[in-house]
C-alpha cells in the first residue's frame, strides 16, 4: 500500500478493492477479483514511478491552459424539451424518472 508517505505500492487489498468498487458502484464478480487485484497492483506500480522525484515545491496543475472562468449572463436560454430528453429513458411515468424505491 502506498500512503501519503509515497512508499511504493503493494497493490490494493481485497477489502480496499471492495471499498473502491462500492464507491464507484461497480459489482465485482468474485472470480475476477484476484486477476483485477493483480492488474491494479501493476498499474499502481507504474504510477508509483512518480515517487522518483520530490514534488514538494511544485503546485498542482489542474488545467493545461491557465485562464480564468468565463461568466454566463443570467438568461434563460433553454426551452422545455422534456419529451425529447426522455425518449431514451429506461423508465418514465408522468414525466418523472422512476427507480426502485429509495430508502432514506
Amino acid at each position: 500500500m502506498s500512503g501519503p508517505a509515497g512508499i511504493p505500492s503493494a497493490g490494493v487489498s481485497e477489502e480496499e478493492l471492495a471499498h473502491i468498487a462500492h464507491l464507484a458502484r461497480l459489482a465485482l464478480d468474485p472470480r475476477e477479483v484476484p486477476r483485477l487485484r493483480e492488474e491494479l497492483a501493476r498499474i499502481l506500480a507504474l504510477v508509483d514511478e512518480m515517487n522518483a522525484i520530490d514534488t514538494a515545491d511544485l503546485s498542482p496543475m489542474a488545467h493545461p491552459v491557465e485562464t480564468a472562468q468565463r461568466l454566463r449572463r443570467d438568461e434563460v436560454g433553454e426551452e422545455d424539451r422534456r419529451e425529447l430528453l426522455q425518449q431514451g429513458a429506461p423508465e418514465v411515468e408522468d414525466g418523472l424518472y422512476l427507480v426502485p424505491r429509495v430508502v432514506d
Partner: protein, 484 residues
C-alpha cells in the same frame, strides 16, 4: 474520386465533374464494402448523408457554398450527433441518441461537410489499440491482423483506407496521433481549448481535445479551420481568433529550429522506428532546418502521471452512467444500489472499469495527496519543461509511437503493456500542447509516425512545418493494398 485531396474535391465539385451526391454515394459504397471488413464504423448514416449531399448540391447551384461544401466526413462516435446514435463504443450507450450535436459536428455541417457515419473507437476513448470497443476491434488497413491504434482507431483506419477524405477524433493521451501513426495518416491534436469539447463525451476533461485525421496536412488544415474556435458552451474553450490554417501553409515559415529530445529515443523505442525518425530528422536538416538536442527530463513521468489524472477524471465523468435517465439499465434490479452496480458492471467493459477503479482509488481519502495531487504536480513540471524547451526551439520532433502497429491481442493481456504505447504522446496532453503526427516511413510494410509538438496555439506554424515535410516527401501518399 476517393484519391482526390480536399482542394481537388472542392475544385471538381465546383466544376461539376461530379455532384456532392455522387461523391457521397461513391464513398458510402466503399464504406460498406471495405469499411465493413475493417469494422471502422459503428453507424453508417446513409440516408442522412445523401440528404445532406443533395442539400450541398442545391447550395452549389445557388452559389452559396461554405468552405467544405459536400466534402464527406466521418465523426468519431464520441461526438454527439442529434438523431443518430452516439455509443462511444460502449454497451452503456448502445441505445443512446443525443438530442443535440457536438459543436464539432455542428461546425463541420455548417461548413458543408456531409457526415457518412460514426467511427468505431475504444470504449469511452480508453485504449491504444481499438480492441476495447463493444462493437469489436478495428483492423489496420495495412495489415488486417494488426490494430489501427486507439482510441480513434476507426477514424484513422477509414482515412488510411481512403474511405473518407477526413475524419474527426479525440486525443486525451495520444488517441489521434497514435492511430494516425499506426495507420499512416496525418493526425492533428490542437491546443487544449482550441476546439470546443461541447458534445464530446468526456473521458478526462482536462486532457480531452478534438482533432482531425486526413491524408495530408493540407486536408487536415481545411477541416481544423472548420471546427476550431471559441464556443460559449465550453468554459475551457479559448476566446481567441482562429488563424487561416490553409492559407498559412504556403507562407514562408522562415528559419526552423527543431528540438530533438533524447527522452524520445529511449530503450522502449523499436530501433527500426528510431531509424525512420532519424531519417526524417535528416530530411528536415537537408531542407534547411537547424537541429538542436534538448532534454525533457520528466518526460518519463508522463505515463505515470497521465494514468492517475486521466482515470481520476474518468471515474467522476463516468458516474453519470447510472441507468436512471438514459443509457443501459440492467433488468430486474429490486433496489437502487443493485440497479447502479448491475447497470454499470454490465454496461462498461473491462478497461473502463479498471480505469474507474484506479481513478476512484487515486481520489479516495488517504490517497489523494499521494496520487492525484502528486500527478498534478508532476504535470506542472512536465508542462514547464516542455514550454521551456519550446522557447529555445520552434518545435519538438520525435516518434509518435515507440513501435509500428502490433498484432491484435498482442498487448491486450496486460494493461500496463498497453499503457506503454502512449509513452511519447501523453506529455503533450498534460501540457495542453498542439501536436501533429505525420507518415514518415515504413518498417516491414507498416507506417511510422513522426510527431511534431508546438507551443500553445501554434497550430498554424505546426501545420506549416508539417506541410513543408509533405511537400518534399511522399510517405503520406502510399495507399494500403486493397484500398487503391
Amino acid at each position: 474520386m476517393h484519391h482526390l485531396s480536399i482542394r481537388q474535391l472542392k475544385e471538381a465539385l465546383l466544376a461539376r465533374d461530379f455532384s456532392c451526391e455522387e461523391l457521397a454515394r461513391s464513398h458510402l459504397e466503399r464504406l460498406v464494402r471495405i469499411g465493413a471488413e475493417l469494422n471502422c464504423l459503428v453507424s453508417l448514416t446513409e440516408e442522412q448523408a445523401l440528404a445532406e449531399a443533395r442539400e450541398a448540391d442545391r447550395r452549389l447551384i445557388r452559389g452559396d457554398c461554405p468552405a467544405l461544401n459536400g466534402i464527406p466526413v466521418v465523426h468519431k462516435d464520441v461526438f454527439c450527433t442529434r438523431g443518430v446514435r452516439t455509443s462511444c463504443g460502449s454497451r452503456m450507450l448502445d441505445n443512446f441518441v443525443a438530442p443535440y450535436d457536438a459543436t464539432v459536428v455542428e461546425r463541420a455541417r455548417r461548413q458543408g461537410m456531409v457526415m457518412l457515419g460514426k467511427a468505431n473507437m475504444d470504449e469511452f476513448a480508453m485504449g491504444s489499440s481499438n480492441e476495447n470497443s463493444f462493437y469489436g476491434p478495428v483492423r489496420n488497413p495495412w495489415d488486417r491482423e494488426r490494430v489501427p491504434g486507439g482510441s480513434s482507431g476507426g477514424s484513422a483506419a477509414a482515412v488510411a483506407a481512403r474511405l473518407v477524405p477526413a475524419a474527426t477524433g479525440t486525443d486525451t493521451g495520444g488517441s489521434v496521433r497514435q492511430p494516425a501513426a499506426l495507420c499512416g495518416v496525418t493526425g492533428i491534436k490542437p491546443t487544449y481549448g482550441r476546439v470546443s469539447r461541447y458534445g464530446l463525451v468526456a473521458y478526462a476533461s482536462s486532457l480531452d481535445q478534438a482533432g482531425v485525421f486526413a491524408r495530408s496536412v493540407e486536408d487536415a488544415a481545411f477541416v481544423l479551420e472548420a471546427i476550431a474556435g471559441y464556443d460559449e458552451r465550453d468554459s475551457t474553450s479559448v476566446d481567441r481568433p482562429v488563424e487561416n490554417y490553409v492559407s498559412a501553409l504556403e507562407e514562408d515559415a522562415g528559419p526552423l529550429r527543431i528540438g530533438v529530445a533524447r527522452e524520445f529515443f529511449g530503450s522502449g523505442l523499436d530501433p527500426a522506428v528510431g531509424d525512420a525518425i532519424e531519417e526524417a530528422l535528416s530530411h528536415f536538416e537537408r531542407h534547411g532546418a537547424g537541429r538542436r538536442d534538448i532534454s525533457i527530463p520528466s518526460l518519463e513521468l508522463a505515463i505515470p502521471a497521465y494514468y492517475v489524472v486521466a482515470p481520476a477524471e474518468c471515474s467522476s465523468n463516468l458516474s453519470r452512467y447510472d441507468g436512471v435517465r438514459y443509457g443501459y439499465r440492467s433488468a430486474g434490479a429490486r433496489d437502487i444500489e443493485t440497479l447502479y452496480k448491475k447497470s454499470r458492471s454490465e454496461g462498461f467493459g473491462a478497461e473502463v472499469k479498471r480505469r474507474i477503479l484506479v481513478g476512484t482509488y487515486a481520489l479516495s481519502s488517504g490517497y489523494y495527496d499521494a496520487y492525484y495531487l502528486k500527478a498534478q504536480k508532476i504535470r506542472r513540471l512536465i508542462s514547464a519543461e516542455l514550454r521551456e524547451a519550446l522557447r529555445e526551439v520552434d518545435v519538438i520532433v520525435g516518434p509518435t509511437s515507440p513501435f509500428t502497429a502490433f498484432r491484435l491481442g498482442e498487448r491486450a493481456g496486460d494493461p500496463v503493456t498497453m499503457y506503454r504505447c502512449d509513452v511519447y504522446t501523453t506529455a503533450v496532453n498534460l501540457a495542453g500542447l498542439p501536436a501533429i503526427s505525420l507518415p514518415a516511413g515504413f518498417v516491414h510494410g507498416l507506417p511510422v509516425g513522426l510527431q511534431i509538438i508546438g507551443d500553445h496555439f501554434s497550430e498554424a506554424r505546426l501545420l506549416q512545418i508539417a506541410h513543408r515535410f509533405q511537400s518534399t516527401s511522399d510517405w503520406h501518399q502510399r495507399v494500403p493494398a486493397g484500398c487503391e
